[in-house]
């Protein structure tokens, strides 16, 4: 327990963005206190031993989008960041499979088994997307300007961005426009013909959103996932040794190294506002902490509608936050396994189990899964993104045993009739049955099953509606409109109250970016 109760800054929420902001502020010499509601740090990026001997990255399961400069500036490798590469993506099909690996030649051959044309196109596609990713970067790394009353620095930022955009080639600009507006299926249809390939690629356009691959706007989410940057290589996914919680722990240790105080099991009830200024926070247990500024790493709905009184905020702002769309669409199923799954289409142990396994055999599979959800049911045959962390890091499970992490879509937060125990188990069964279609032995291997519905994600991790991105990544919720116009630069209508969660520009994923940029904005490094 900390002795002082007056801080320069209090960060609400010990998720990776909150911790990142705290680390940056502490690094700049501020007296910082981080308050986490749960007993563990990391928010959605946590590792827990749910079943004895088996460690799970309970919620977030891969790291791809962590910004290189955040890793360096906060010395994360020094504090325990160890990212193991996920080598391949394996899509099991009926009697066949699609495999993409880190080796370009091999990927070419594997795709060419299905379509030579696609194999060639694939070689061009990656670098093109990389280029577009580069073109988008400066936009992501700029503080989103106030679109209503831009400040001088906003105008100069805008001018720089306009110049940047002007210098794009017509081709880049065309692709960028298309990626911002199209559905991932439409975008991929312009390039490829082999459906399982398109479906698997389009899946990165639906992860974390309430959209199907044919929904306009999903192409942007796909691009968002293409901006993963590990060791400077685009589209490189990684797994944190020891589980995703290790990423948060590394940031936490970094923050502590720079002098921040971190307290768990400290649930903030209210931000204390006096004369339109935040002056501290009140915990549920009645403790109060004073500080010059308060920074919330929670999502916009919690940050404003729960921690503050509506009367303290301008009514149009309250309306905007109420209209801010956070739509939970995904669930998580964690399995403790007695052995390795055996896929009918590619029996035995092999490289394919060391990478991502994607249950996305066709657009229809994904779309039908989405159809179930949009009418209020969980998917009977869901889309899944699966990894076997124990294949990458044996210490995740006892010898010979394995852990399997299944990210599942769709499971709507607003399920017809609401979520309850039997619905949760039915959802878990749907996942296992779908998986068993491709790997029939899975049912005999399960030692323990943890099913997390969006409602569980909300109650456990405080993610509103269980949305992993703190808000849909749609055009009208990006940049200067994330989370609300005028307040997209991490400031809020309450003086000295700031936001730094994924609900701010540039959005979700384990990027550390909102936390970094919020801190830099507060410190005046970024304008």
């Amino acid at each position: 327990m900390s002795k002082i109760n007056k801080y320069d800054a209090i960060v609400i929420g010990g998720g990776h963005n909150g911790l990142t902001a705290a680390a940056y502020l502490a690094r700049a010499g501020k007296e910082v206190l981080v308050l986490e509601r749960r007993h563990v740090l990391g928010g959605a990026a946590v590792t827990e031993e749910i079943f004895p001997g088996f460690k799970f990255s309970v919620c977030s399961y891969v790291v791809s989008l962590m910004k290189a400069n955040v890793m360096r500036e906060l010395m994360l490798p020094h504090f325990g960041l160890e990212l193991l590469p996920l080598e391949s993506t394996f899509t099991p099909l009926e009697n066949d499979y699609l495999m993409r690996t880190a080796d370009a030649d091999q990927t070419y051959r594997e795709i060419a088994r299905h379509s030579t044309r696609d194999a060639e196109t694939y070689m061009r596609f990656g670098p093109r997307m990389g280029q577009i990713g580069m073109a988008v970067r400066p936009i992501l790394e700029t503080i989103a300007p106030n679109a209503i009353r831009p400040s001088l620095s906003d105008l100069s930022n805008l001018k720089n961005l306009l110049n940047h955009v002007k210098n794009l080639s017509s081709e880049q600009f065309e692709y960028l426009t298309k990626l911002m507006t199209m559905s991932s299926a439409d975008f991929l249809d312009e390039w490829f013909e082999f459906e399982p390939l398109k479906a698997t690629m389009s899946a990165s356009g639906i992860i974390g959103t309430f959209m199907g691959p044919r929904s306009p706007g999903s192409a942007y989410v796909m691009l968002h996932h293409y901006m993963g940057d590990i060791d400077g290589a685009f589209r490189a996914w990684g797994f944190q040794r020891g589980g995703t919680g290790g990423v948060s722990m590394a940031i936490a240790r970094s923050a502590e190294h720079f002098g921040a105080t971190i307290m768990t099991e400290s649930s903030v009830e209210k931000v204390i506002v006096k004369n339109g200024k935040s002056v501290g926070v009140a915990l549920e247990n009645g403790d109060e902490y004073k500080s010059d500024m308060v920074i919330s790493g929670l999502d916009p709905k919690l940050s404003f509608l729960k921690l503050l009184e509506e009367k303290d905020l301008p009514s149009d702002f309250v309306q905007s936050i109420k209209n801010f769309r956070i739509r939970g669409s995904s669930g998580k199923v964690n399995l403790a396994l007695d052995g390795l799954p055996n896929f009918t289409c590619l029996p035995g142990e092999g490289h394919h189990l060391r990478g991502a396994i994607s249950i996305s055999p066709s657009y229809d599979h994904l779309e039908k899964a989405y159809d179930d959800a949009k009418y209020g049911n969980f998917s009977k045959k869901p889309f899944m993104d699966i990894i076997l962390p124990s294949m990458l890091d044996p210490e995740m499970a006892p010898p010979g045993k394995h852990v399997m992490s299944c990210f599942v879509q769709y499971a709507p937060y607003n399920l017809k009739g609401g979520w309850n125990d039997s619905k949760r188990e039915a959802f878990g069964d749907a996942v296992v049955n779908t998986l068993a279609h491709y790997a029939p032995n899975i049912k005999d291997l399960i030692l323990h099953r943890q099913v997390l519905t969006p409602a569980d994600l909300e109650s456990t991790f405080g993610l509103t509606e269980g949305n992993i991105f703190h808000g849909e990544l749609t055009i009208q919720q990006l940049f200067s409109l994330r989370p609300a116009v005028k307040w997209a630069d991490y400031t809020t209508p309450i003086k000295n109250y700031f936001q730094c969660g994924s609900g701010t520009h540039p959005g979700g994923g384990i990027t550390g970016s909102p936390g970094e940029m919020a801190a830099k904005k507060i410190l005046g490094i970024l304008k």
Partner: protein, 409 residues
């Protein structure tokens, strides 16, 4: 000393139809990846014998990894005429044309040979997969494109004795087969096509074979060729000879415009020394408009040969207390070229030419400096330190024997 082994390992790389033979002959066990195939780098511990086989005897190379496409149908001539920069309308049956092809900005996508097999059938070879581009531009035309890469095995028989060997094994004489022409004939009972083409700049042939006949043809060539010095040859030796011949290599000397992610990485045919292959009197072909403009203003870059002057190089080595030591194989690292302390270009590949006894390289140079005889400074690293040494711009090919084109009287 021969060390017997019985090991075998599974591989995820493709194996050519000749692999059963080449794998046993490869004493060095040095392999390189070529288009996803396992290809011999050199069969002996050093590639020297193989190099000299190309220049003095006969070298046998497995070139099956080349990409091969068969294009067939009434519109094929019209189609290829629009696709490539050379004039396909004058390509006769049995004739072969070397040509680059460009995108609509006049930047080279790939280069290869176009072989006219019959009135309406052509084979096109390329370094990279090109099916997507080929198919794309065929839309609306009456023709079929088949990826024939796997269905045709290919050997290159190169060197002064190559004709003699083929004359002993082929049903028809090759004496009258002219440079860049081809015939259909039989070797043993296997139907093959033989084209008088190659990537060595020497007298040589390429043999196109049904994969099921691959081993038969290989065996008889080695058997009958033995007294002519036939030598299974790997890619190291080939690389030196193609530099001597001034022939460009995709992904080494230039990058396909389909894959170049920035403009400056792309090259036009003019910038690759292939201006002779661009036929501007053709009514239309892909990239013509852009190339017309480029021709009008003059290309920015030129592709040149350079000869690194020996005396100064030797002096630099002496100063370091060393005798001149050059890499024995061809190099592919981009190396700066200077003029008056200003970088004006870069060499992309180079080698010591054992036959010419010269240190030669190929490279890109800003056009203003590309006149023959211009003296440049070439960067060399001697004992970890960078030095500059004189190099002269020269005409390519560096090595161009008469036998390459001539026929016996």
């Amino acid at each position: 000393m021969i060390y017997k082994n019985n090991f075998h390992a599974e591989t995820q790389l493709k194996l050519s139809p000749f692999f059963e033979r080449t794998s046993k002959l490869n004493e060095s066990q040095e392999w390189r990846r070529w288009s996803g195939y396992l290809s011999a780098t050199n069969y002996e511990l050093s590639h020297e014998n193989e190099y000299f086989a190309i220049r003095t005897k006969a070298a046998l190379l497995d070139i099956s990894p080349l990409y091969k496409y068969i294009i067939e149908g009434p519109d094929t001539q019209k189609y290829l005429h629009r696709l490539v920069t050379r004039n396909i309308n004058i390509c006769k049956i049995g004739q072969v044309m070397y040509t680059p092809w460009c995108d609509e900005d006049g930047k080279v996508i790939d280069d290869g040979t176009v072989q006219r097999l019959s009135e309406n059938t052509f084979r096109i070879t390329s370094a990279e997969p090109n099916l997507e581009w080929l198919q794309y531009n065929a839309m609306g035309l009456n023709l079929k494109i088949k990826d024939d890469s796997k269905n045709t095995a290919a050997l290159a028989l190169q060197g002064p004795n190559s004709r003699k060997i083929l004359n002993t094994v082929a049903k028809d004489s090759l004496d009258q087969l002219k440079f860049f022409w081809m015939i259909n004939t039989n070797i043993k009972d296997c139907p093959v096509s033989i084209s008088r083409t190659g990537y060595t700049g020497d007298l040589g042939y390429e043999i196109w074979i049904d994969p099921k006949d691959a081993l038969t043809v290989w065996d008889i060539l080695l058997e009958k060729g033995k007294s002519y010095g036939i030598t299974p040859t790997g890619l190291h030796a080939l690389d030196i000879s193609r530099i001597e011949a001034g022939l460009i290599l995709l992904d080494v000397d230039y990058i396909s415009s389909r894959h170049a992610i920035i403009e400056s990485r792309k090259s036009s045919p003019y910038e690759l020394g292939l201006g002779w292959a661009v036929k501007m009197n053709k009514k239309n072909f892909i990239g013509k408009k852009a190339l017309e403009k480029e021709l009008a203003r003059g290309p920015e870059w030129e592709f040149i040969g350079i000869e690194i002057e020996w005396d100064q190089l030797e002096k630099l080595y002496r100063e370091a207390g060393l005798a001149p030591g050059l890499p024995s194989t061809a190099w592919r690292t981009s190396t700066p070229l200077y003029y008056n302390n200003q970088q004006v270009g870069y060499a992309t590949s180079g080698a010591w030419s054992p036959i010419l006894k010269k240190y030669i390289a190929l490279g890109h140079l800003k056009s203003n400096f590309a006149m023959n005889g211009t003296i440049l400074d070439f960067e060399v690293k001697i004992e970890h330190f960078r030095k500059l040494t004189k190099a002269k711009v020269v005409k390519t090919p560096f090595f161009d024997p008469k036998r390459k084109r001539s026929c016996p009287k």
